[in-house]
Symmetry: C2
Subunit: 246 residues, 2 copies
C-alpha cells in the first residue's frame, strides 16, 4: 500500500462539539481552503461533522461521504461486524489514497477531537506511515458538555473517569462509585442501564445530562429531571468533581 513519489497530506481535523466558533483557527483555515473533504455519516443522514461545517466550504470542493455499512443491525460480538466495518474502512482509505496519490490534500472533518473515540482513527490506522497524515486536535464533545452546564468538571486532585454507556452495568456502577468526576458518553439507548448504574453507585442525584452541547437544540438538565426513556446517541452524562478549592 506504500505509495511512491509525491503525495498530498491527509488531515484529520477536529471540528469540536458543534458550535462552529469553537473550531480552532487552524481547522477553520484548513476547511475553508480544502479542495477535497471526506467525512463519515450514517446512510441517509447529512452527517454530524458535515453539518457543523455547512456554509464554510469552497464552491468547487469535492466531497467524499463515507456511509457506515452497519451501525446496529449486526451485534458487536458477531465476527461479521468487524469484517464488514474493516472492509468499509479499507475501501474508504483506498479512495482517499487515490486522491493523495495525485498530490492533492484531503481534509477529514471529525466531530469532537479526532483521537478521542473518533471514527477518523480507523483511517489513521490505515494511512499513517503510508502517506503524510496530520491531526488537528479540537475541543472534545465532553468539554462542550461541561461548559454547557456552567459548572467546572474537575478541581485540585480530582480523578476524572470517562466511560462509554456500552459497558456492562456492573462495570459502569463499579467505576462510577470509584471516581470524583465522571463523564459517560455513547448514552443513547443505553440510558436505562446508565441510570441504573448511577443509582447503584450513589451518583444519580448529582448527574447531569447534556444533549446537543453548544449547538442548536442544546439541552442541559439534571438527570433526575430527565424522564426520557431514550436519548440522542451523542448525549453526555456528567458528574462534576468537588475537589479542593480555597
Amino acid at each position: 500500500m506504500k505509495t511512491t513519489g509525491i503525495s498530498g497530506t491527509f488531515y484529520g481535523v477536529g471540528v469540536g462539539p458543534g458550535d462552529r466558533e469553537l473550531m480552532s483557527v487552524r481547522a477553520d483555515r484548513l476547511l475553508r481552503g480544502a479542495k477535497h473533504i471526506a467525512y463519515f455519516r450514517k446512510a441517509g443522514r447529512a452527517g454530524r461533522a458535515r453539518g457543523i461545517i455547512e456554509g464554510m466550504l469552497r464552491a468547487d470542493v469535492t466531497e467524499f461521504a463515507m456511509e457506515y455499512p452497519v451501525t446496529t443491525e449486526i451485534p458487536l460480538d458477531d465476527p461479521r461486524y468487524n469484517e464488514t466495518l474493516s472492509a468499509f474502512y479499507a475501501g474508504c482509505a483506498a479512495h482517499i489514497l487515490g486522491i493523495l496519490g495525485r498530490g492533492e490534500d484531503v481534509v477529514a472533518p471529525c466531530e469532537g477531537d479526532p483521537f478521542f473515540y473518533g471514527s477518523f482513527m480507523h483511517l489513521h490506522a490505515r494511512l499513517a506511515g503510508v502517506v503524510p497524515v496530520e491531526v488537528v486536535p479540537a475541543v472534545t464533545g465532553m468539554s462542550g458538555a461541561w461548559a454547557a452546564t456552567g459548572v467546572p468538571i474537575t478541581w485540585g486532585d480530582d480523578v476524572l473517569t470517562v466511560l462509554m454507556g456500552t459497558l456492562p452495568e456492573h462495570e459502569l456502577a463499579r467505576r462510577m462509585a470509584d471516581t470524583d468526576a465522571l463523564v459517560v458518553m455513547k448514552v443513547g439507548r443505553n440510558i436505562g442501564k446508565v441510570k441504573a448504574a448511577l443509582k447503584a453507585a450513589g451518583r444519580f442525584d448529582d448527574a447531569w445530562i447534556v444533549a446537543f452541547a453548544t449547538m442548536e437544540g442544546e439541552s442541559v438538565r439534571r438527570l433526575a429531571e430527565a424522564e426520557d426513556t431514550a436519548m440522542p446517541y451523542f448525549s453526555t452524562i456528567l458528574v462534576h468533581g468537588q475537589g479542593r478549592r480555597p
Copy 2:
C-alpha cells in the same frame, strides 16, 4: 458583592495547549478585541496563558496579572495555604468586579480548557451569579499531548482515567492498573512517584511523556527512554487505549 445596574461580562477563554492556531475562532476574536485582560502567573514569570497570546492584543489593552502568592512554600494541608489563596482569589475577583462595574468586559485567557483543572474556576466560583460570566471551552492540554504522540488515545469502549501526579503512590498505582487509557497531569516533581506507580501497575513500558505539547520545545518520548529526574510541571504522561478496532 451583588452589583446593581450595568455590568460588563467576564469571559473565561481557553487558549488551548500552546499552539496559537489551536485557539478557537471565538477565543481568537475575543482576545484580539479585548480592552481588559486578566491572567494568572507565577511571580516573576511572564505567565503561560499570557505567553500563548503574545502579539495578539490591542495596543491599548489593560493587563491585570494575578500573581500567585504561594505555590510550594506552604504545604497543601496547612490551613494557611487555603487562607492565603482564598484571600488572593477574593482580591482578584474584587479588582475584576471593579472593571465590570464600569460596564466594561474582562477577558481571562486560560491555558487549556477553563473548566478542566483550571485556576479560572476560582474566579468563576466567586463571580458567576454575581455578574454575567461566559466560558469558552478549548482544546485541553491532554488533547494536545495525545495529538503530539501521533497515536489515538481511546477506541471503542475504552475507559479513560485522568489522574493528578499529586495523588499518593498507592492510589495512583491502583487506578493505573484498572483503566484502559490513562492520562497523568501535574507530573513535575512527582515524576519519581508516578514512575514507581506505573511500574507497580504494569503500565510503565507503555507510557509516553509529553512536555510543551504543540509549542516550541515540544518533547515526545517513551517514558522508559526519559531518564530525567525532574520534568516540567505541565508534562503529561499518557498510556494509549487498545480498544476495539476493526
